[in-house]
Point group: C2
Chain length 342, copies 2
């Protein structure tokens, strides 16, 4: 049914040369070994027949498919689409395509989907996982498959990784709150089995120490998911504890939005009575009132950076040649959800 594709053989027949000659004439590197005139003729024939190389066949022979795998937890999480576009902006112009899979942060899925990618002979993988450990991707890298991780460092490996400077972000935010006069600062932390959750909590503690702010352990509540519902629950828990606080530094925007919602319901004015901050600067934030003060992380930029590193690996550079660590700067975005301590 499918209309027959034009192959090298067709061009060879058409031009009266051998397929290997055709192959060479069409390969920019090998072309120079062919008479100019013949090459021209072959190219013309290829063009007029509408030849398109069969990457499957080439891939079988060369072991390069010009396809990369991208593993993310969940594409419906707004932070990932910009990352994907960032990756694409680097790889697509060079002829790479991306197979994207959602792991839902489940280890089983991750293992299975990794196989899905390897079975298809992807040339490399960008892994934007969030689980704090996973041996499968490490072992894939061990086998020689180029891998770059995003948002997370794989311990004890020489897999290059790209992360945002979360430490600096949390620290800047805490300093911002301190400068506004807040001293009783609560933290709604993210899930501790996710690297961002854990990282940001650790950063919060460190930042507090750096800024000589005492950390009241009762003012730290850990969410089980990064969503509004959990943000709400955590804030209710904070209120119920009876401990006073004038600011809440949340581990991400959605937690903050949930928290603000509860404050509103209880008639507590944000930012007049309690300041709330987020992290990530997700899209549409400026449509939600009060506009959230947050930390902007580079999403597109992170994707781009990861893709650029992967590219170097694909071109034969080893993990020794590239920087193992890429830390992207973040930016404090002060909007309306923070105000001086009452």
């Amino acid at each position: 049914m499918q209309k027959k594709r034009i192959t090298l053989k067709d061009i060879a027949r058409e031009t009266g040369v051998h397929v290997s000659t055709v192959s060479r004439a069409l390969d920019p590197v090998e072309r120079k070994t062919i008479t100019e005139e013949v090459a021209k003729k072959i190219q013309a024939a290829a063009e007029s027949l509408g030849y398109r190389p069969n990457r499957i066949a080439a891939g079988l022979r060369t072991n390069r498919t010009m396809t990369v795998g991208v593993m993310i937890p969940d594409i419906t999480n707004v932070i990932f689409p910009p990352i994907l576009r960032g990756i694409e902006s680097v790889l697509e112009p060079l002829g790479y395509a991306s197979i994207i899979v959602n792991t839902d942060s489940e280890r089983d899925r991750e293992i299975r989907l990794l196989d899905v990618l390897r079975d298809r002979g992807v040339d490399g993988i960008i892994h934007a996982a969030v689980l704090r450990s996973d041996p499968s991707i490490a072992s894939a890298a061990q086998d020689g498959l180029p891998v770059v991780t995003l948002n997370r460092k794989v311990e004890d490996s020489d897999i290059p990784y790209v992360i945002n400077d979360e430490d600096a972000g949390i620290c800047q935010m805490l300093r911002h709150l301190r400068e506004l006069g807040h001293t009783r600062i609560a933290h709604i932390a993210g899930p501790q089995d996710l690297s961002t959750g854990q990282l940001r909590l650790a950063a919060f503690r460190r930042a507090a120490e750096d800024l000589d702010t005492e950390v009241d352990e009762n003012l730290i509540v850990v969410a089980t998911r990064f969503d509004e519902q959990e943000g709400a629950r955590c804030l209710i828990e904070l209120l119920a504890s009876g401990k006073t606080f004038t600011a809440v530094l949340c581990a991400n925007d959605r937690l903050a939005l949930g928290a603000i919602e509860v404050l509103r319901e209880r008639g507590i004015d944000c930012p007049r009575q309690v300041s709330v901050t987020g992290f990530n600067d997700m899209p549409f934030l400026d449509l939600i009132r009060p506009k959230l003060t947050t930390v902007r992380i580079q999403q597109h930029g992170a994707g781009r950076a990861a893709a650029e590193i992967l590219l170097r690996l694909l071109n034969g550079e080893t993990a020794d040649d590239v920087d193992i660590e890429t830390i992207l700067p973040v930016e404090l975005v002060i909007r309306e959800s923070t105000a001086p301590c009452p």
Copy 2:
């Protein structure tokens, strides 16, 4: 460098049979032609060696890659991620992977990316484009490549398509506004070169006729993009025209949000003075005040439906066997941005 993959040949050597026998033992369909005992042994060997079939090689031979292409305008547009998950929810369990490309609604990109997909031998394509016409995808379908379009019907072709019942949605929304007593109803239409923009405007006119509502052409403003900025611009234009209106039916949520923003700035109360409605029911809408009354379309469901149809095409059913048209029901979601006519 890359650790050698186990191939059929390795298993054959290990078990002392021919590769073709191994191949058959590992193929659930062919397995029955092999002695039970031999098959068991081969499977055990495959298992213990950690064999993974090379889909590239199989794909070359069989012309099936178990990979599909998905073309969307822009993954950062919040309506697409759920569609992708919907597609994935059907195809992934069956062993399919998806190559996703962003066309940015540019014809050149679309043509190029279609080739990117075909070069990689995708078994089929789900095309969630928005341009009102494009010959390339039609010609691909003509060549026998299974194609399903989403959100748009390709004229003069037998390509199956999945759409949401936009007509019904617009009509229900208009009826809702009429029931609230509104008679002077403006429409902020989407870009007319995008199918949704055009479709919804046509639906608005039709619905008005059905409901015996006069359409004041001066109360129809066409946006050039589907975003808040354009929504704002269009509302300003409406206000400037001097024509009175008590409700604005917008072609999508973002236009509506932009419009509401302008109303707020001008001190016009929504919904007390002017009702505003959206379309799509995008995520996070319930975090934005006033909560937008809108039409919920099935995103995940649309992806699922498209994938199911594609699957039938992949399994050899022709366009004659499957329904060319799938129209998914929409749902009116009444929130806070609409109120009785003042």
